[in-house]
Symmetry: C2
Subunit: 200 residues, 2 copies
DNA sequence: GCCTCACTAGTCAAATTTGACTATCCGAGG
DNA sequence: CCTCGGATAGTCAAATTTGACTAGTGAGGC
């Protein structure tokens, strides 16, 4: 659903085992408080919610050498359900463009974890999205071209124009990204070599 | 703060006197549930909140001829405070680009009410925003060009690219809008002729 | 006359988000 | 030894958002 869920799940997954503050720090270091909504409370909430949904499970925090500090320190890791939910959320966030306010933040979150997918999968999901966005683009272009007759105050066309130019930009970027992926950029889950992808 | 507040305040202002369902219908007819977050509950909440803040006041609903239907039907209208708050929100929403998730929805909401401003004011506010967005554009462009060194996994650059292309699109549109305004398009608050602007 | 359907108008509990606030530990400086 | 700042780790009440649900009214069909 929300970008926060995907981000939190993804960060725990990438650490293998993480407690709340670790996730929080990581997300802050990505400035994710800016482009998604990740206030501290939301993170802890997401962790608990997903634990209740059996996507995460609590594990004893590693008592790291020489550390017995501070509060409780519950750590989390993904369950098998969490792993499939993560794959599902990635697929949806990359491929579906639900022109809702949050759509782009989910997209951005998913791109963060892009190397966790195989190259072919990533390309296929993004192509799916391109189709969807293209359809929107066409609809909006029509709106802009025929809006005059439509009984709406003329300045409303500016909104359509704004939408259109945004959507065009998105298509351009998506196509570029697909091209770069197809051209072998980035180390994906099915590549070898120095892996920046996160181990499962 | 939120786009909803501006939308609700603006719709009440444009009707002069409106009850909740009127606002809701109007906003739905703008598909504002898609590009801002206007669920029914938020609208009624905003109305009550702003009433508590003395931006709106309750007035007896016009008992329109032959109607005594349904529930309570409280109507609202702007107080003087509400009027200045509206002007303030318009100014902020148009001129400040707080790269937060909600920034663009506020912008869109404000554009909806653009003709309530004088031409000069609208142009000046938008120019201010262009400056701010340009600064962001430069920052992001740097990020894209120097990201390699930055110790981040390379695919993260795609995020920057996405941000950059979005920001570029926004600048293009803003400049176009300013040009159209400067060229005399749209009937603004200080124009005469068949006014589509909303009477104060 | 009665039933259904759609529109009108709004309520409310539950879910979520916010961000200021609490509390612990560590190291440096005095 | 004491204290003060900063990082660590998280909590919690309040604010906000969500959207399914309630309930009155009129029009049209049978």
């Amino acid at each position: 659903m929300s970008a926060t869920r995907l981000l939190v799940l993804g960060v725990v997954r990438m650490y293998g085992r993480a407690h709340g503050y670790q996730v929080r720090r990581e997300l802050l270091s990505w400035s994710a408080d800016k482009w998604a909504n990740v206030a501290p409370g939301s993170i802890y909430h997401a962790l608990k919610k997903m634990t209740a949904e059996r996507l995460l499970e609590e594990v004893a925090a590693d008592a790291e050498p020489g550390e017995a500090r501070g509060p409780d320190r519950v750590a989390y890791r993904l369950t098998p359900d969490g792993e499939s939910e993560f794959q599902l959320m990635m697929a949806k966030s990359l491929s579906e463009d639900d022109q809702s306010p949050q759509g782009d933040y989910r997209l951005a979150a998913a791109v963060t974890f892009l190397p966790t997918l195989t190259r072919a999968k990533a390309i296929s999901l993004l192509r799916h999205r391109i189709t969807a966005v293209r359809a929107q683009e066409a609809t909006t272009r029509n709106l802009v071209e025929e809006a005059e007759d439509w009984g709406q105050p003329p300045h409303v066309m500016e909104l359509y124009r704004f939408w259109l130019i945004t959507v065009e930009a998105k298509v351009t970027w998506l196509q570029g990204l697909v091209a770069r992926l197809a051209g072998g950029n980035y180390v994906m889950a099915d590549d070898d070599g120095p892996s920046f992808g996160f181990p499962g």
